[in-house]
């Protein structure tokens, strides 16, 4: 239970950890754009993206194995789409065919590029969650969404809801562990039995957990009232986000990547 969803953050001191979270989000967006701008007929563009990823991993100080673990989650999707593409893509240089199935040179290249794109995408975004605390992420999102305040979109409230939700994930997961242990001590069995029995076995966990969540929500609401929380008006921040020299370097790396990929697309777009 300890490693659910946002237990991803990998504490370390590194260049990437110290970047402004807003820049990291923008960089990720730029990176995704670059991945899909890269020509899908050859590997030059993606090679540039992969190079930036390797740089980022080195400067994040997150163990390589940990970064690669992110791919494991989408491995099935990766293999499945690659296989379909290899068999159905079609093309001129046919290696093998059976009925409508054809394995071609073009198909293999296409599916390899697609798989590579997915892998780069997943690893790079996981790098963001590895090097940024959830709190910093919500802060950054709030700051990036500020322009929406003009159309009266409740940016601050949204960010608050997000950070409360994030804060509660470890609390509730701990609570789940405790309740699960308590019921286990009373002989509850979560491993054996058919699917229906297994689902039913979770009732003694779910009900106390729900009650706990409501109780905590009530308490939090009271605590916020008691400290006169009034929403976004005139609130200042404890931690102000500021750009530093690191962010300028990262900005230029990102800009160079996009320009590079665009240039590759224009001048090196020829198929292999």
């Amino acid at each position: 239970m300890k490693d659910v969803a946002f237990g991803q953050y990998y504490p370390a001191r590194s260049f990437l950890h110290n970047l402004d979270p807003r820049l990291k989000i923008l960089f990720l967006i730029a990176y995704i754009v670059a991945i899909f701008l890269a020509p899908s007929t050859n590997f030059y563009g993606l090679a540039a993206c992969a190079f930036v990823l390797i740089l980022a991993v080195i400067f994040s100080r997150v163990p390589v194995l940990k970064v690669l673990r992110a791919v494991r989650g989408v491995l099935f999707l990766l293999v499945f789409t690659a296989l379909l593409n290899v068999l159905f893509h079609g093309g001129e240089t046919v290696y093998w065919s059976y009925g409508i199935l054809r394995i071609t040179r073009e198909g293999i290249i296409f599916s390899a590029i697609l798989a590579l794109r997915l892998m780069l995408l997943v690893t790079f975004s996981s790098l963001l969650t590895y090097t940024t605390t959830p709190v910093a992420l919500t802060d950054a999102i709030e700051s990036l969404l500020t322009p929406l305040k003009w159309i009266r979109f409740p940016v601050h409230e949204l960010a608050l809801i997000m950070s409360i939700a994030l804060r509660f994930i470890p609390i509730l997961s701990e609570e789940t562990d405790r309740i699960k242990n308590a019921q286990k001590a009373r002989g509850a069995d979560f491993e054996h039995g058919g699917p229906i029995a297994k689902v039913r076995a979770f009732v003694p966990i779910l009900i106390p957990l729900l009650l706990c969540a409501f109780r905590r929500a009530d308490e939090l609401g009271d605590a916020m009232d008691a400290r006169c929380y009034m929403g976004s008006k005139n609130r200042t921040k404890y931690k102000k986000l500021r750009f530093s020299w690191r962010d300028i370097i990262a900005f230029f790396v990102g800009a160079a990547l996009i320009t590079g990929v665009v240039l590759i697309r224009i001048y090196l777009g020829a198929p292999l």
């Binding site: 504490p11 308590a182 001590a185 009373r186 002989g187 106390p208 706990c212």
Partner: protein
């Protein structure tokens, strides 16, 4: 059932940056029939230790240990009665039937529509396959357990556990554990969050169970008065280690060490200390009754001397 632990260690989140050593080479023996206390500050490893007793936390399996043994050091041992908890094949459900565990704030584990159903939960879980107890048997056992925790079954059995008061909920939760008559009853801070009267009531309950219902009672607490008043023996945990183990009578004689560990001292021990500084030596076992008797005995002696 005797509890024997030797060289027990436990690390949370091992091999991650969040790794935290909770137990460090703990060796303890708890004899059958004891009312055992486990004392320590928050984070001293006391809860981690008791969660080993019914297999909720496991020690490395014997196979792994053998491999390790070649390398270095001693291998951990944990036996509860005839159960060897370092063996992977051990039937942990059978073990849990014998070792009942009441967690901190047990009232938050209640879930069923009625008190009766909730208390019966453990009973039905531990029933052997094919030998489901009849409704009659279940009802009898549940009513007995409710009576034992001081709730009138006629009044409470059909109620929803969520409409009871905090103290009553806790009683129901305790009933849900003792209903299977475990030989060893482990309680993690059983009196936490209760008012002084409620605390005393819970401890009185435990004394009632001790002996008839459960041969051995183990309580985890940081309330020294509770330990001094109730326990036959107690172990002091600090930073994952057992730093002292003795009957309360000896444990609270030297109070400096406990204070240096950031632990409180029972009120009675404080009184004895204060009296000693003023030249009055009181020998007692640090229970309230023991103290009162010792003081009265002394007063009586003085009175006689005065008459003579």
């Amino acid at each position: 059932m005797r509890i024997v632990a030797e060289h027990l260690s436990y690390i949370y989140n091992a091999r991650t940056p969040f790794a935290a050593k909770a137990l460090d080479d703990v060796s303890l023996t708890i004899e059958e029939g004891e009312f055992y206390g486990i004392i320590g500050q928050t984070g001293s490893g006391k809860s981690t230790f008791v969660q080993h007793l019914n297999g909720l936390l496991r020690l490395p399996s014997s196979l792994k240990r053998k491999k390790k043994k070649k390398g270095k050091g001693v291998s951990p041992v944990l036996r509860v009665g005839e159960f060897d908890l370092s063996e992977k094949k051990t039937d942990f459900r059978a073990l849990r039937k014998h070792v009942g565990m009441v967690f901190q704030y047990p009232e938050y584990q209640l879930f069923a529509e009625t008190v009766e159903k909730d208390v019966a939960f453990g009973l039905l879980n531990f029933a052997e396959k094919g030998k489901k107890p009849s409704d009659e048997e279940v009802k009898r056992a549940v009513w007995e357990a409710l009576e034992a925790v001081g709730l009138d079954p006629k009044e409470y059995a059909e109620k929803s556990p969520f409409e009871l008061s905090g103290g009553q909920k806790r009683r129901v939760a305790i009933a849900g554990v003792i209903v299977t008559k475990p030989e060893i009853l482990v309680l993690d801070e059983p009196a936490a969050g209760l008012d002084p009267l409620g605390k005393r009531e819970v401890m009185d309950l435990l004394h009632k169970f001790h002996g008839d219902w459960c041969k051995t009672v183990v309580i985890v607490s940081h309330d020294m008065d509770e330990i001094a008043e109730n326990c036959t023996r107690a172990a002091v945990f600090s930073e994952g280690k057992v730093v002292k183990e003795a009957p309360p009578k000896e444990l609270f004689r030297e109070t400096e060490e406990l204070s240096s560990l950031g632990l409180d001292i029972p009120l009675v021990a404080k009184l004895c200390e204060a009296l000693k500084e003023r030249g009055v030596k009181i020998e007692c076992d640090f229970t309230e009754d023991g103290f009162i008797n010792a003081v009265l005995g002394r007063a009586a002696l003085r009175g006689k001397e005065g008459q003579a």
